[in-house]
């Protein structure tokens, strides 16, 4: 049983179950799946300053703060307590690429050699966390959503602006993965 719970899932199990979050939130209370709005919520709660965009009643929408606290717990249970002991089964092409980047794959879901507190002080670590995070937070608010709000919820509700946003996400991601990421691991 424990072994079974440790196993990662193929896309055709994980994908539909991720999709079910959309009706689950709608039925529980008319909530639209979206995560990046929690960054705005935290800004509004902690440092609203005199910015009108951050001055609203964030407590009214605090369901999403509980929701992301749940995501943290889900990640803890599935990725720590019942973590898969095997490395991620990436494609042969990806393994080759990781070798070129001098990344040794351990059992974790991220390369531990880069995502740790010690590497945070290296320029690569700063790009992977501080710069990457800043772009994610700035871009998602400017684009009014992330992969869940646009990519899953927006597309599920057949909204064309979300399709354009999702294409923009991928354009940025493909460019960054091919032109910037390789420079970090030369």
């Amino acid at each position: 049983m424990i072994d079974f719970l440790r196993h990662p899932w193929p896309w055709y199990v994980a994908g539909p179950l991720i999709g079910l979050t959309v009706p689950l939130l709608l039925l529980l209370g008319n909530k639209r799946l979206g995560i990046s709005s929690t960054f705005r919520q935290i800004c509004a709660a902690c440092v609203p300053g005199r910015i009108s965009f951050l001055r609203y009643d964030w407590k009214k929408q605090s369901w999403n703060l509980y929701f992301v606290a749940g995501i943290f717990l889900g990640g803890f249970l599935a990725g720590h307590v019942l973590a898969n002991p095997e490395p991620v089964q990436v494609s042969a092409h990806m393994r080759e690429l990781l070798q070129q980047w001098h990344i040794h794959m351990g059992a974790g879901l991220l390369p531990e050699q880069w995502f740790n507190w010690h590497q945070l002080l290296s320029w690569q670590g700063i790009l992977l966390t501080v710069v990457g995070g800043f772009l994610v937070g700035f871009g998602t608010r400017y684009g009014e959503g992330c992969t869940s709000g646009h990519g899953i919820f927006g597309l599920s509700s057949l909204q064309w602006p979300s399709l354009i946003a999702t294409m923009a996400f991928f354009a940025g991601g493909i460019l960054s993965a091919h032109l910037i990421v390789p420079l970090l691991f030369k």
């Binding site: 896309w11 994908g15 539909p16 999709g19 079910l20 979050t21 959309v22 939130l25 709608l26 039925l27 008319n30 995560i35 929690t38 960054f39 705005r40 509980y66 929701f67 992301v68 749940g70 995501i71 943290f72 717990l73 889900g74 990640g75 803890f76 249970l77 599935a78 990725g79 720590h80 973590a83 991620v88 990806m94 690429l97 990781l98 879901l109 991220l110 995502f115 507190w117 992977l128 710069v131 995070g133 772009l135 994610v136 700035f138 871009g139 998602t140 400017y142 684009g143 992330c146 646009h150 597309l155 599920s156 509700s157 602006p161 354009i164 996400f169 940025g172 991601g173 960054s176 910037i180």
Partner: protein, 157 residues
């Protein structure tokens, strides 16, 4: 005293099925579910995200597409059958209004996505999975949102 108490007791109205709205904390539970399935599907993996951007595997595309199909079918069913929320509200989906930020902001988010190997949801799950340094990524994302809020009037929309 006993008399007034009995007269003020609210009676259950026949035909009224309206319940109270769920309190916000209840959404911790769908959150745990979402975090669990994202993690078990390896959608929070930096390796899987890079692999996706290099078109190395169908895994992430399969996740996205099947999630959207299930989401779309559920919304279609909800509308078709007129299903209401737990507390009897009509389900509403506000229209998204397009502006230039969808392209510019979306592109900027994409640039960051390939670096962090995670979009916002998975960032929270990565911290839970034990990569505590990702707290810095989250704080930086919050800072990014703050800077957007401060510059909002000067950016093209």
């Amino acid at each position: 005293m006993a008399e007034t108490a009995t007269t003020t007791t609210p009676r259950i109205q026949p035909g009224s099925t309206r319940r109270k709205a769920l309190p916000n904390w209840v959404f911790l539970f769908p959150g745990i579910y979402f975090g669990w399935v994202l993690t078990k599907g390896e959608a929070i993996s930096w390796y899987r995200i890079e692999e996706m951007f290099y078109f190395g595997s169908f895994h992430m595309y399969g996740i996205f597409m099947s999630a959207v199909v299930v989401g779309a079918l559920s919304i279609w069913l909800i509308r078709k059958l007129g299903i209401k929320t737990w507390d009897g509200e009509t389900i509403e989906i506000p229209k998204k209004r397009f502006h230039k930020g969808y392209i510019l902001g979306g592109f900027i988010f994409g640039l960051g996505w390939a670096l962090t190997g995670a979009c916002p949801g998975p960032l929270y799950a990565q911290v839970g999975a034990g990569f505590t340094v990702v707290i810095v990524t989250l704080l930086s994302a919050i800072a990014g949102t703050w800077v957007y809020a401060a510059w909002r009037d000067k950016l093209p929309h």
